[in-house]
């Protein structure tokens, strides 16, 4: 599955479109403690979080994550948006909770 399929199937909003929508997504990771995400997220995962600080862009790049989903209708802060555009990190959004969207992503990967 690529990022575009995932965004379409989960009806995610595209908050920052610059980046590679054709990139393969191989799993997901959910977390708001960035130190934990840095330690445990696997590359090419889609990252589900409520953190909107600009450091999320650096963490996504560092871990080579497929993209970021912001939950609960949260919007990236302006510096976050600028950095994500510069670095090509796609940011998606959903009005759903982290629990609900994590379940939906897990469902796409065959874990129910």
């Amino acid at each position: 599955m690529n990022l575009k399929d995932l965004a379409d199937r989960l009806a995610l909003n595209v908050l920052q479109p610059v980046g590679n929508f054709d990139a393969a997504v191989t799993g997901g990771y959910t977390g708001d403690l960035l130190s934990d995400v840095m330690g445990n997220a696997k590359e090419r995962s889609i990252w589900i979080t409520c953190q909107t600080h600009e450091n999320i862009v650096a963490v996504a790049r560092l871990k080579n994550l497929a993209g970021i989903i912001l939950v609960n209708g949260r919007k990236p802060e302006d510096p976050t948006l600028g950095k994500a555009r510069d670095e090509g990190v796609i940011i998606l959004g959903t009005p759903e909770s982290a629990f609900a969207i994590t379940g939906a992503v897990a469902g796409l990967f065959g874990r129910k």
């Binding site: 708001d32 403690l33 960035l34 130190s35 934990d36 995400v37 840095m38 953190q51 909107t52 600080h53 600009e54 450091n55 650096a58 963490v59 802060e77």
Partner: protein
């Protein structure tokens, strides 16, 4: 130039997570027992007990600096320390306007406002344990606008520490210092965190017996935030000694 022993991170009975016995007079007495010259009064998102502790501590010859421990929207704790009570209260006003919710005493604890003579003046109904909607940059900017010092609290702790929450410290964030918790020695803290920014340590006392368990020694002309700021930057022979 004199040496001042400072524990710049002390809570009072106003913080819901702090012991009810953390009253102004008891804090002042404990600070004297621990040979502290300076204490920083930093309740969660509030400075409502700062004046009372300053008065109680002043009677014992101890300088109590008014401050707050602000919770940013990223759930990072920032110590804000000031020379003037008015500045701390201005920041408090800014924080209160950005702090949603009400306290639930059964879950979070009592938030007691006290006098310098340890009388209970009332309780705060605000959700002081909560997070503000202010970004880290907003908080630090507001502190600096009021000529205060902004210090990232307990950077070695995962919960509410800037590195735990944000993975690393943004290079352009104008923090005046990092605080290590009392779990680390100053030497350990310096090795782990002290390469790029000035370092202090503080007890983060929530109980009387924790006051002074960690303290920073400064070489200063006087016990003021302005002087501590000079020491953090190593200016004018002001120094952070240990």
């Amino acid at each position: 130039m004199k040496t001042f022993r400072a524990d710049l991170h002390i809570h009072t009975c106003l913080s819901p997570c702090a012991d009810i016995l953390m009253s102004p007079r008891s804090i002042a007495a404990a600070a004297r027992r621990k040979d502290l010259d300076v204490v920083g009064i930093c309740d969660h998102n509030s400075a409502e007990n700062a004046a009372a502790v300053a008065e109680a501590a002043g009677r014992l010859g101890i300088r109590a600096l008014p401050g707050l421990e602000v919770t940013s929207r990223e759930e990072v704790h920032i110590l804000a320390l000031f020379d003037e009570l008015e500045s701390a209260l201005s920041l408090q006003e800014h924080v209160y306007a950005a702090l949603p919710g009400e306290n639930n005493e059964e879950i979070f604890g009592l938030q007691v406002v006290a006098s310098a003579d340890d009388e209970v003046l009332g309780t705060s109904g605000r959700f002081l344990a909560g997070a503000t909607v202010l970004s880290l940059a907003d908080v630090i900017g507001a502190v600096h606008d009021l000529r205060g010092l902004a210090v990232a609290s307990h950077v070695d702790r995962e919960g509410f520490g800037i590195i735990g929450q944000l993975g690393f410290i943004p290079a352009d964030l104008p923090l005046d210092a990092l605080e290590i918790s009392r779990r680390l020695t100053f030497q350990e803290g310096r090795a782990a965190f002290g390469r790029t920014r000035p370092l202090i340590t503080g007890s983060d006392a929530h109980f009387l017996e924790e006051i002074g368990l960690a303290a920073t020694c400064f070489q200063l002309e006087a016990a003021t935030v302005r002087e501590i700021g000079l020491a953090l930057r190593g200016l004018g022979e002001r120094l952070v000694l240990s």
